[in-house]
């Protein structure tokens, strides 16, 4: 079922939904952007549909709702670790199609990798329902179509904003009673079917080619460009890495939190062990690691889709203007050449 609602009517219903749900959406934080006089668009709890920034791409992804930037795992004393608690309320998040795919990638990492599900991820994830926001034409750094993440059916509600009105598809039956007396409409969300950017994915056909990809000089070109700041991985919806650290409540207190904090494979201490020995010492090597994880390793491990969902936020956030789409296209060109060389060497046609 779908409905046509005025924003003020939607706000009345939102108020009712807020009795049982915590509702997150991209919001504008004025003058909080990276540069002077710019705004930041990131996720937070909304009180009104007018809070939702629907006509811009959020600078940060909705992953922080399920995988918070910092999260207390335990409260400790000298003698025990007590598990942190969590708000029991279910969560509704306004997201883009690519973000839904991105969160599915997080599901794979946190719920499937290893022998057991990550309890902290699961306890938030189980509560989450998605409100799909239409993208219209998308934005200039998007490449969801190339990644196959432009469409999804995995949502509870879908919304199109249209001035003082909105169109809402209600897919999840549990929401139907709330909208029972509203004016129905003929609405299904439309998905982006072409981006301005097209990305060709590298098709690494053999172990030998993979080794040559590791040795490509193209990675070295990032040694001077990449600042190892990790802005890309912080903005990424599918980046899941974290570091745990203990924080004492007071200087002499023997109690505190064990927290986990987002980590970045671009940071130079990501692989450094006690004593100082580390691996992947150059920005180029770390850029290679991130790139291959996004479009090769993840798929090699789990099958199915690539980890990157083409949201383009990494490109948007890079202070050095490194375009991930351009990086991938560049890599694919090199891989084509390596595949052709390998084929020529074995006498097999490509």
């Amino acid at each position: 079922m779908a409905y046509r609602l005025s924003l003020s009517r939607m706000d009345e219903l939102l108020e009712k939904m807020r009795e049982s749900y915590t509702i997150y959406a991209p919001m504008r934080f004025e003058k909080r952007g990276r540069y002077s006089d710019t705004d930041l668009v990131r996720y937070d709890k909304i009180r009104s549909v007018r809070d939702i920034v629907y006509d811009e791409k959020s600078h940060f992804s909705p992953k922080e709702v399920i995988h918070p930037i910092t999260q207390a795992l335990f409260h400790f004393t000298e003698f025990e670790y007590r598990e942190s608690e969590v708000d029991e309320r279910p969560v509704l998040v306004f997201v883009r199609p690519c973000d839904i795919h991105g969160i599915q990638r997080l599901d794979t990492m946190f719920l499937e990798n290893g022998d057991a599900a990550d309890p902290y991820y699961k306890r938030l994830r189980d509560k989450v329902k998605f409100v799909l926001m239409e993208c219209g034409k998308g934005w200039d750094t998007c490449f969801c179509v190339s990644m196959g993440t432009n469409r999804t059916e995995d949502y509870s509600l879908a919304v199109r904003f249209a001035g003082e009105e909105l169109l809402l598809e209600v897919k999840d039956p549990s929401f139907r009673p709330l909208f029972a007396s509203e004016k129905t409409a003929d609405f299904r969300p439309e998905f982006v079917s072409a981006n301005r950017l097209t990305v060709r994915l590298p098709e690494i056909k053999s172990r030998d080619v993979l080794e040559k990809v590791h040795a490509l000089p193209l990675w070295e070109s990032y040694d001077t460009r990449c600042l190892s700041c990790g802005a890309c991985t912080a903005a990424c919806v599918s980046c899941s890495c974290f570091t745990t650290s203990d924080v004492a409540y007071s200087e002499n207190g023997r109690s505190g939190d064990r927290r986990r904090v987002w980590a970045s494979c671009l940071h130079k201490d990501f692989t450094v062990m006690a004593g100082g020995h580390g691996f992947r010492k150059t920005p180029g090597e770390r850029m290679r690691f991130r790139t291959l994880h996004k479009v090769y390793d993840f798929r090699a491990r789990f099958g199915g889709a690539d980890m990157c969902v083409g949201c383009g936020r990494c490109t948007d956030r890079c202070p050095q203007l490194i375009s991930f789409a351009a990086t991938l296209n560049r890599l694919s060109g090199e891989v084509d050449r390596l595949n052709a060389e390998a084929a020529a060497a074995t006498g097999v046609s490509v």
């Binding site: 795992l73 335990f74 400790f76 004393t77 000298e78 003698f79 025990e80 670790y81 598990e83 990492m109 946190f110 990798n113 290893g114 022998d115 057991a116 599900a117 990550d118 309890p119 902290y120 991820y121 699961k122 306890r123 172990r207 993979l210 080794e211 590791h214 899941s240 890495c241 974290f242 570091t243 745990t244 650290s245 203990d246 004492a248 023997r254 109690s255 505190g256 064990r258 986990r260 980590a263 494979c265 990501f270 692989t271 450094v272 062990m273 006690a274 004593g275 020995h277 580390g278 691996f279 992947r280 090597e285 291959l292 994880h293 390793d297 993840f298 090699a300 491990r301």
Partner: protein
């Protein structure tokens, strides 16, 4: 709620042995089933967690030989017998004892790399009938960094042992890097055998190359990797190499796999 895989449990420290100035062995009261080569996350409130391999396995205790080198280990060195520490585990795979059965075994270890193989060696010390022979090369930097001196004496009585110090020779220890002694192993005389190499990354790399040079095939070589880890359960991402997670598929890798792990 799902069982909390991150929750450390308290264990009592039964004994602390000073191996060297910088390396202590902590004996912990723990009746946990552990396989040779596995590791635990040792956890200290206020400080954090670090992956530490098991150096000794008893019926109701475990030993960890720890080098004072980082935040967690610095605090550990201030603990006393009777204190509690927290840990969770065991994690990771282990040395393939079934594969070793009935064959000759060569163990090459350098420095703190002796710790992860010590329980394996102790096992074969007690069950030498499980394998045909054991050749053990252990290398340390200098006389001040020798670990498990008493164990080494025991092992020398039962195994074919070569002990070496990087730059000096003292009674019981020859001089030179472990790689210089590998050619003394009678690989050609073995019907079937395996080689275990554990130590710093550079030592493992060159020891493996030296083995290959002596005719050892890649399939016979096993290594144990050390990596930065926050979780040890395949979530944090720090130990990932290519599509492999060292905490899940390792830390023990056959060389045919290890040589494909490109950092």
């Amino acid at each position: 709620m799902t069982a909390n895989i991150f929750k450390p449990d308290p264990y009592r420290i039964a004994d602390i042995v000073h191996e060297t100035e910088l390396e202590y062995t902590f004996k912990v009261e723990a009746g946990v089933k552990v396989d040779h080569g596995q590791f635990f996350q040792i956890s200290l409130p206020e400080i954090g967690e670090a992956p530490i391999s098991v150096s000794g396995i008893g019926r109701d205790w475990l030993e960890f030989t720890i080098r004072k080198v980082g935040k967690v280990t610095h605090r550990l060195f201030s603990l006393r017998r009777g204190d509690r520490l927290f840990m969770r585990g065991p994690y990771g795979n282990s040395f393939p004892l079934d594969e070793f059965r009935g064959k000759d075994l060569v163990v090459i270890a350098g420095g703190t790399g002796v710790s992860p193989v010590r329980s394996l060696l102790k096992h074969y010390f007690d069950h030498l009938d499980e394998i045909r022979s054991l050749h053990f090369i252990a290398g340390f930097k200098d006389r001040g960094s020798i670990l498990f001196a008493d164990d080494l004496k025991d092992f020398a009585a039962r195994f074919h042992a070569i002990y070496t110090l990087d730059k000096e020779a003292i009674p019981g220890f020859q001089s030179g890097l472990v790689t210089e002694h590998i050619r003394k192993i009678p690989f050609a005389g073995f019907a079937d055998y395996n080689v275990v190499i554990v130590g710093p990354p550079v030592m493992m790399r060159y020891a493996a190359l030296e083995c290959l040079k002596n005719g050892v095939s890649k399939e016979r070589i096993w290594m144990s990797f050390e990596r930065n880890m926050s979780c040890a359960v395949g979530k944090c991402g720090h130990c990932k190499i290519n599509e492999t997670y060292v905490c899940l598929e390792g830390p023990v890798f056959n060389y045919t796999k290890a040589e494909q792990l490109l950092d």
